[in-house]
């Protein structure tokens, strides 16, 4: 499991510059010697290896005839279908509609999640009121909620956005709340002694302290937004990626389903990557195992 990635060493350079030779090099792990226990430096584009490999396996399996094309169409079939869908503008349309819904839902959901997390994280009464119901909401499958949602919010756009927001707000709430609760008490004491006001406390201690948690929550929130589409776009939708998939499912159009899955996968990878980028940018102060 141990991998020893050489420290980014100086490139071969004229003798005068050999001063930059790394002096302690992580050594291959031997039973006796000291070994490096952390994961080492990030591999460049390492994140792409898995997905590319997965794709390669799929392509190879299809080409070798190991995969039943009725069950799992070959990548080129899927690509062709995607091409058709794009050519007649359908895929873009679906994506655009879905993206609008997802973004709106994300917006409201994140706002609600953070707000409720603050209410519940900073006061015991708030916690008593908010936390339980959130746990209940979280435990109820959204599929089962659809009739109730229709009842309360109709079948229009607002119902869809609300449902997405409901899906989004849960991970944001839980993670932010957990992040809040995990802030070292020593910092709270510090804030008290420098006489931070409550808002300043929230802004300067609570929010940055809970930021890692919040960002982890965001990683779930973005996918939750896309996932919620699969449910809400079953209701009175005429476009959207979820609608496209639902339709394909009732018809059993495996290739369209796969186009949808690939799109979902890409959306997931991209939005997760975005959140991670923000994570790296805003959490520069962390000196953690990730290095």
């Amino acid at each position: 499991m141990s991998v020893d990635v050489p420290a980014r060493s100086a490139v071969a350079s004229p003798p005068a510059l050999t001063k930059d030779r790394p002096l302690t090099r992580p050594r291959p792990s031997r039973a006796t010697g000291r070994r490096r226990l952390g994961p080492g430096r990030p591999v460049r584009y390492g994140w792409a290896v898995g997905p590319v490999l997965l794709f390669a396996l799929w392509a190879a399996g299809s080409a070798a005839g190991l995969l039943d094309p009725r069950a799992l169409p070959a990548p080129w079939t899927v690509a062709a279908t995607a091409g058709d869908l794009i050519a007649d503008g359908r895929l873009q349309n679906h994506l655009l509609t879905s993206a609008r819904r997802a973004l709106l839902g994300l917006l409201f959901g994140v706002a609600a999640g953070v707000l409720l997390a603050l209410v519940s994280g900073l006061s015991r009464v708030g916690e008593a009121l908010v936390d339980g119901p959130v746990q209940i909401k979280r435990a109820i499958p959204s599929l089962a909620l659809i009739p109730l949602l229709i009842l309360w919010f109709g079948i229009g756009e607002s119902m869809k956005v609300i449902t997405i927001a409901l899906g989004v707000f849960v991970p944001v709430y839980i993670h932010t709340h957990n992040g809040l609760r995990a802030i070292d008490n020593r910092y709270v004491e510090l804030a008290e002694t420098v006489r931070l006001g409550r808002t300043a406390f929230v802004r300067q201690v609570v929010l940055p302290g809970a930021l890692p948690g919040f960002l982890l929550g965001m990683r779930f929130a973005v996918t939750a937004a896309w996932l919620a589409l699969a449910v809400v776009e079953q209701v009175n939708a005429t476009s959207g990626i979820g609608y496209m998939m639902e339709l394909a499912r009732t018809y059993g159009q495996t290739d369209v389903i796969l186009v949808g899955l690939v799109v979902y996968g890409l959306l997931g990878l991209v939005s997760d990557g975005l959140v991670r980028l923000v994570e790296r940018r805003t959490l520069t102060w962390r000196r953690t195992l990730a290095g």
Binding site: E189, T193, A200
Partner: protein
């Protein structure tokens, strides 16, 4: 050098009968202490004797202290914690000016950082600092404020001799300017004598000694009076300088030991005492 001199300035801190226990173990047990306005008190005591616990109680951070006496302390307290306690997600300057909302906060913060020798590092992250640098930032953070009571828990512990001397000077300047009451925890008896008006020793949950330092400024670091005070305090801490009479250190030693220097290897440890567990 009598303890508890009658003073006229009002009391900033008044503690009577303070009790604090952890899991049944009484760390502070009926402690009494009064600190007057503008007074500089040094607090000595063994490791684990409850110094930090006392400071936390005074800063009103500890809501589990009990007793039937009273505990008054001003709201406007500034604390230098034993750990530097910098917010890891704020750069140095932001850490220093935390909670300061005067318009010149930034400038003052910059000046304070410069005073502790960290000019130019305003935008560094706390993790990028050496131990002593972190401690200095924490000091700078309390220097930019104007507290009525400054509680400092070993603020110079991780500093080299030169930097320590500079920090002493800095603290003196601050005290001269705003005259806050100060309670300074230190392990360095010389430091305590050099800086404080009064030195108290915490032992078994109470103030076991309370000595006024009324040496004139020039004698704060030498001379027989100084040596006597020093020996007495060290004796309270269990370090016997005399080398001859294993004296409990109860008052009027004469000029003692060969030279009364701080001589770690020669100093005798009273064998009857155990390090507090």
């Amino acid at each position: 050098m009598a303890s508890h001199p009658g003073r006229l300035s009002p009391a900033v801190v008044r503690i009577e009968d303070l009790v604090r226990s952890f899991d049944g173990r009484r760390v502070l047990d009926g402690l009494r202490l009064t600190i007057h306005d503008g007074e500089f008190v040094a607090l000595l005591g063994r490791s684990g004797s409850g110094k930090s616990t006392l400071l936390r109680a005074l800063a009103r951070l500890d809501h589990d202290v009990r007793g039937d006496g009273l505990l008054t302390a001003p709201d406007n307290v500034s604390v230098v914690f034993q750990d530097a306690r910098l917010l890891p997600w704020k750069r140095l300057l932001e850490n220093v000016v935390l909670g300061l909302d005067t318009p010149d906060a930034q400038e003052r913060g910059r000046a304070a950082l410069a005073e502790v020798g960290l000019a130019g590092r305003e935008r560094a992250w706390p993790v990028e600092l050496s131990g002593g640098e972190q401690q200095r930032v924490s000091l700078a953070r309390s220097l930019v404020r104007e507290p009525r009571l400054l509680l400092a828990d070993e603020p110079f512990g991780a500093l080299d001799a030169l930097t320590r001397i500079r920090m002493h000077a800095l603290l003196r300047t601050l005290c001269a300017r705003h005259r806050p009451a100060v309670l300074l925890v230190t392990h360095d008896v010389d430091e305590a004598i050099a800086l404080a008006d009064r030195v108290v020793v915490l032992e078994e949950g109470r103030i076991a000694a309370d000595l006024t330092v009324d040496l004139p400024g020039a004698h704060r670091t030498g001379g027989p009076d100084h040596a006597r005070l020093r020996a007495r305090l060290l004796a309270h801490l269990g370090v016997d300088l005399t080398g001859h009479e294993p004296d409990g250190g109860s008052g009027d030693e004469t000029a003692d030991g060969p030279r009364g220097e701080y001589e770690p290897a020669h100093e005798r440890v009273r064998d009857t005492e155990e390090i507090p567990a």
